[in-house]
Symmetry: C2
């Protein structure tokens, strides 16, 4: 997995016509490191690098980067919005309501699903934003333990 460094992040931002400020680099770095993260997580992680970063800045930066297609967001658990670099967005998520774990959906399953939808409904699925809720294998197993038999 190609790990971009800070320098590259700066370049990336400029390529999109955006200024490479310390705060933005910190936030992009945090996004890259975390894969997907909530506002709170991003605030914390970017403050570790650039202590002056403020909550409102995180909001503004994410909005700006989002408008330029660099960042996308998904609703994972409940109303929690999580953000991710678009380069990291090309897969759907399986979100477990039991333990909160987030797994990437296997590509071939996703592809078949979107193909089916396209064929049946003519609907063009926005892949990166797809979140599937349910219970992961572990939690299903736990559920069975707790209600042993009928």
């Amino acid at each position: 997995m190609a790990q971009l460094r800070t320098d590259d992040h700066a370049e990336l931002l400029r390529r999109y016509g955006l200024r490479a400020t310390g705060q933005r680099l910190a936030i992009v770095g945090a996004l890259q490191e975390l894969g997907h993260a909530t506002i709170e997580q991003l605030l914390e992680a970017s403050q570790a690098v650039s202590p002056t970063v403020q909550l409102s800045t995180v909001y503004r930066v994410l909005e700006t980067l989002g408008a330029h297609g660099l960042v996308s967001h998904t609703h994972l658990l409940g109303a929690t919005k999580t953000y991710q670099l678009s380069t990291h967005a090309n897969h759907a998520h399986l979100v477990c309501r039991g333990c909160g774990s987030v797994t990437e959906l296997a590509d071939d399953v996703a592809r078949r699903f979107t193909a089916d939808i396209s064929r049946v409904h003519g609907f063009d699925v926005d892949f990166g934003h797809l979140s599937v809720f349910g219970r992961c294998a572990d939690c299903v197993a736990k559920d069975l333990d707790e209600s042993p038999s009928a």
Copy 2:
């Protein structure tokens, strides 16, 4: 499609051990009529029947009904939470980012998808809460019109 009347709603509520107040009947009626609706839509629709209904009441009623399994909710557009009667919840939604339209996903497609996920990931999909974002056939067609060729 079996259309329940107000009397039946009252009965339904009581069957769940809930009091059948005018406000609740109005809200359940609105849910039934709208299929799925936001808090705002529900407020408006239920006020048409029972003008005293208040926003906080809508919130409280939905929470109560939800706790009893009568109502479920999904995230459709953006952060917008929409609510629906559980009897109406057994299908996934295709949500168009272009025009905001919401379509029900064909059963067989959904079934195949959940079966795939179960087989590959051991993950048990929460069906009624599945929302798929993207662009509907109409909006895809419009998109093509607007960017005719390269």
